[in-house]
């Protein structure tokens, strides 16, 4: 059984990630053409339940910030963590690649260790594992290639008078074809590995060993301590606060207001933070899933729905009024971005001059009336798509 149980992958992810915002609302399933009568009743019942349950009170997610410790916004409660990730893909697990999967991975590891005699089935549920396996298969191919190159060299050096014999040539050709076929198979996913052989070399090695520190987190046979927390970045925190979904303990001030939060953050990060937030909010309100783009040499990357559903299609580079980077820098960014098959969008933020008295007026007004939207409306955003052109390829 795979992780999807009886569901297909689409249904599974729809259940897991039902919403783009951490606000659960009753969706009208009736709009579906193929509903059954009972589903109408279901839908009405759902809707009613929503209101009845939620009348009792608004559940906030607790976020902790401590400027003396590490100046980061943390969600420590496991359920909150999962909730905020599943509904909108916010934050990053500090012990995971993105989705906070540490506890599950650890549990699996321990279970595998305990049942290692018979349980050989690998459940590659986690994105970390999937990447690891992909790299492993790629490694196999690379090793094959190295051995081919070595063979070729040997044949060449041992050739008589520098001529490769026909026999050797044929031999090389066969090996070469084998290699290219292996690559094709890897890409298409046709490589058959006996299901009894675990494909993950790392997990073979690690399965039978638990490190000493691993024992520290074991509580009993079914439970382990969760030592992972979810870290939100500044823009995500402001956004969630703006939606009134979180309660922030800011340096021991319980439940700080949005205005004060912003004021405090601006003191730390200066008005540059607002530039980032304007862009973040811009795409967020257009329904995109916005994640940090540091790994792709830009400011943000945009997923249409979220990381499990598709690759990000766009990468956003913020360009401010005081831009000093030369065209060489932008050429470099575009090379990296096109290497990972994304489109580079230059997002020009036309912002107020932060040193002008007019801006200080606006800022002070904001601190009094707390109207963030009208503050953001002092900025304007324009986008330009940057794409490399190779003349020799487009001639025809």
């Amino acid at each position: 059984m795979s992780k999807f149980g009886n569901l297909n992958k689409r249904e599974y992810y729809n259940l897991k990630h039902p919403s783009p915002l951490p606000i659960i609302i009753p969706l009208s399933y009736i709009s579906n053409k193929y509903y059954k009568p009972i589903e109408i009743l279901n839908s009405i019942y759902d809707t009613l339940c929503h209101f009845i349950i939620n009348i009792s009170g608004h559940a906030y997610i607790d976020v902790i910030f401590d400027s003396k410790l590490d100046s980061s916004f943390k969600i420590t409660d496991y359920n909150d963590m999962i909730f905020i990730w599943n509904n909108g893909f916010y934050g990053k697990g500090n012990l995971s690649r993105s989705e906070p999967t540490f506890e599950k991975r650890m549990l699996q590891k321990i279970n595998d260790y305990l049942n290692n005699d018979k349980n050989t089935k690998q459940d590659t549920t986690f994105s970390e594992e999937i990447t690891k396996n992909r790299r492993y298969l790629r490694e196999i191919w690379k090793n094959e290639r190295i051995s081919l190159i070595k063979l070729e060299k040997d044949i060449k050096i041992n050739s008589i008078n520098g001529e490769i014999s026909i026999l050797d040539k044929e031999k090389l050709e066969i090996e070469r074809e084998k290699l290219s076929k292996l690559k094709d198979d890897l890409i298409k996913g046709n490589v058959r590995i006996d299901s009894n052989t675990p494909i993950n070399s790392d997990s073979i090695k690690n399965r039978n060993t638990l490190r000493i520190e691993d024992y520290d987190i074991i509580i009993d046979s079914n439970n382990i301590k969760n030592i992972e927390y979810l870290q939100l970045d500044n823009c995500e925190t402001i956004y969630l606060k703006q939606l009134n979904m979180i309660r922030i303990n800011f340096d021991n001030i319980p439940d700080i207001s949005l205005t004060n939060l912003l004021k405090n953050l601006i003191e730390i990060y200066d008005f540059e933070l607002l530039l980032n937030y304007v862009v973040y909010y811009h795409y967020k309100t257009l329904g995109w899933c916005v994640k940090n783009g540091l790994k792709f040499s830009c400011d943000y990357i945009l997923y249409q729905r979220g990381p499990p559903f598709s690759h990000a299609e766009f990468s956003i580079k913020i360009v401010t009024n005081e831009e000093t980077d030369s065209l060489i820098d932008y050429s470099a960014i575009s090379r990296v971005v096109s290497g990972v098959k994304k489109n580079l969008i230059l997002c020009f933020v036309n912002h107020p001059n932060f040193n002008s008295s007019q801006w200080l007026n606006i800022w002070n007004n904001y601190l009094i009336d707390g109207d963030l939207i009208s503050l953001l409306n002092n900025f304007s955003i324009n986008e330009i798509n940057w794409k490399r052109w190779t003349p020799s390829r487009t001639r025809m």
Binding site: K9, R10, I25, Y34, T124, G162, N343, P352
Partner: protein, 569 residues
């Protein structure tokens, strides 16, 4: 680096024949052949170097023309209409098929200083090939029978006055401007290009004193160095020539834009229409009602009652409308910085893809428009780029992506329907990503760093115009309920098994018929209990190889039926 195969040129045109077919195919790269090309054809490197040591156009000898016919090294891509025999460089392609790495010496671990027998053999072969290629007679490009028809004159008092008295030649189809006295005038870049590739000779001309013209006539033609020093006076002109010659050699038709001389034209269009800008983020009546209630009672928007996330997004977006409007263009506004340094950049060239039907008097919309930047220049600010985009006017079809052909969907049927229906915006479809990636408002920057040129196409895009990307039916839509009979499933499974076992027998012969992702997922849906271990492991691996888990689900999506037009509130 390409060694063009001249023997394959069939149309014989001196300009467009340069590379189209030969450069597009990967041609071997090798040390020796690239060196060879370098020495023979050094004009690719800045053109400031002379052709090759033996081939400087001799300027003082009377036998200049003879020498020219022997020595001019522009052997690569010409073929005037004259029946000169062309050099066949394709021989050199045989030196190595794998490129430069194939020519690295193989050193044994014991002896690092002598070449192995294999290397020696290879080296000898390559050398012989090279000598063979150089052995044959090499020809000139200028038409020796009628020198006047291939001589460009430059007014000795005004170097911008460049003309040809008896214009003749295929290159005139795309270059030069013929006036009513049948005199062809050239721009400096065209003249220099023609001289450099050896199609034309360059001589001085004196407008006032005809006797001097006779002296010029008898003198040998001006050298390439002289031509460069006459035509290129500053860095800007050098950059313009670099861009011109690179694109020309690639086979493009390239002409000056109206703004070439620095006169900036008026803007031709607006990038977006403010009336239609927000049409995709318009709120539904219900959302409007909710938002007015929230503003009247001064409470936060009741998200819980919105009924769809799409509604929430349109509400949030509607509060941000001023962000997308060009409101800060006011020069006197202290709030903005950008206007003080706003410069106008000119569009230098219009470019067309090679086309036999091109008429220079009545050209179609250009495929590309080029503006030239230096690499160390700062990125222009938005208003500078906006101005460029607004002045550009290029063929909107050039950048349209080719329609993706999908197996399941026949293309013709929806085309007819599309004309009847207004498909400009369809909620069920999701936003059109192509609109964000391609736009007819575009301009190509040629970023010049010495002799390296990087071309960048900038195009306008507007995320707001496309509206929220989120679709609620991603979550709510369910495929129509199929009648599942277990028998069918069983049959399918059996079939699948058969197929698999057949493949095992056939083995590697038939890799293309292996299951693809779509099949897997379909199978996945239909197999309630994965009895077949192979299927599972396949699924697993395909999962892994697909990188992020997401790919599988997209393929599942496409293999399923299209979601219906679900209404949105």
């Amino acid at each position: 680096m390409n060694i063009e195969n001249n023997s394959t040129n069939q149309n014989g045109s001196p300009i467009t024949d340069s590379t189209p077919e030969s450069a597009s195919e990967p041609i071997s790269e090798s040390i020796s052949s690239s060196n060879l090309r370098y020495s023979l054809n050094s004009r690719s490197s800045a053109g400031l170097v002379t052709i090759d040591s033996g081939s400087n156009l001799p300027s003082r000898e009377t036998s200049a023309i003879q020498k020219l016919s022997l020595g001019n090294g522009n052997l690569e891509e010409f073929s005037d209409d004259s029946d000169e025999e062309l050099q066949d460089w394709s021989l050199l392609n045989n030196i190595s098929k794998k490129g430069i790495k194939d020519l690295e010496p193989l050193l044994t671990d014991n002896d690092k200083y002598t070449l192995s027998a294999y290397d020696q053999n290879k080296l000898n072969k390559a050398r012989n090939l090279r000598f063979q290629a150089l052995e044959s007679k090499r020809g000139a490009i200028v038409n020796l029978d009628n020198l006047k028809a291939s001589t460009i004159f430059v007014n000795k008092d005004n170097y911008n006055d460049i003309f040809m008295l008896q214009p003749k030649g295929k290159f005139l189809e795309t270059m030069g401007f013929i006036d009513n006295q049948n005199i062809c005038h050239f721009g400096f870049e065209e003249a220099l290009y023609l001289v450099e590739r050896g199609s034309c000779m360059l001589k001085f001309w004196d407008n006032e004193n005809d006797s001097k013209n006779e002296i010029f006539e008898r003198m040998p033609p001006l050298s390439l160095q002289a031509a460069y020093s006459i035509f290129i006076k500053n860095e800007e002109q050098l950059n313009q020539y670099m861009v011109y010659s690179i694109l020309k050699r690639d086979g493009y038709i390239i002409n000056r834009n109206d703004e070439f001389n620095g006169i900036i034209s008026k803007r031709k269009r607006k990038l977006f229409d403010e009336d239609t800008l927000f049409k995709n983020i318009e709120m539904s009546r219900w959302t409007k009602f909710l938002s007015s209630i929230s503003s009247i009672f001064n409470i936060s928007f009741p998200y819980k009652l919105a009924f769809s996330y799409f509604n929430i997004f349109t509400y949030m977006r509607s509060t941000l409308k001023p962000q997308s409007l060009p409101k800060l263009k006011n020069v006197n506004n202290e709030l903005t910085l950008n206007n003080k340094s706003c410069k106008e950049f000119k569009i230098s060239f219009n470019i067309w893809k090679p086309s036999p039907n091109f008429k220079k008097k009545n050209p179609p919309l250009p495929d590309y428009q080029i503006t030239i930047f230096k690499a160390n220049q700062k990125l222009p600010n938005y208003f500078e780029l906006q101005s460029l985009l607004e002045r550009s006017n290029s063929n909107p079809d050039t950048y349209k992506p080719k329609p993706k052909v999908r197996k399941n969907k026949p293309n013709k049927v929806p085309d007819n329907k599309a004309k009847k229906l207004d498909i400009s915006w369809d909620y069920a479809k999701g936003i059109n990503m192509e609109n964000l990636k391609y736009n007819q408002n575009r301009i190509t920057l040629a970023i010049v760093d010495n002799i390296t040129i990087n071309f960048i196409t900038l195009s306008h895009c507007n995320f707001v115009q496309e509206g929220p990307v989120w679709r609620d039916h991603w979550v709510t839509w369910k495929p129509p309920v199929k009648k599942k009979s277990t028998r069918n499933n069983f049959k399918r499974n059996e079939k699948f098994k058969d197929k698999k076992s057949n493949e095992d027998i056939i083995g590697k012969e038939n890799p293309s018929k292996d299951i693809n992702n779509g099949d897997i997922s379909e199978n996945k849906i239909l197999t309630p209990v994965p009895t077949n271990k192979k299927i599972e492991s396949n699924l697993l691996i395909s999962n892994i190889l697909n990188g992020e888990e997401g790919n599988l689900i997209t393929s599942t999506k496409s293999s399923e039926n299209k979601p219906p037009n679900s209404a949105h509130f």
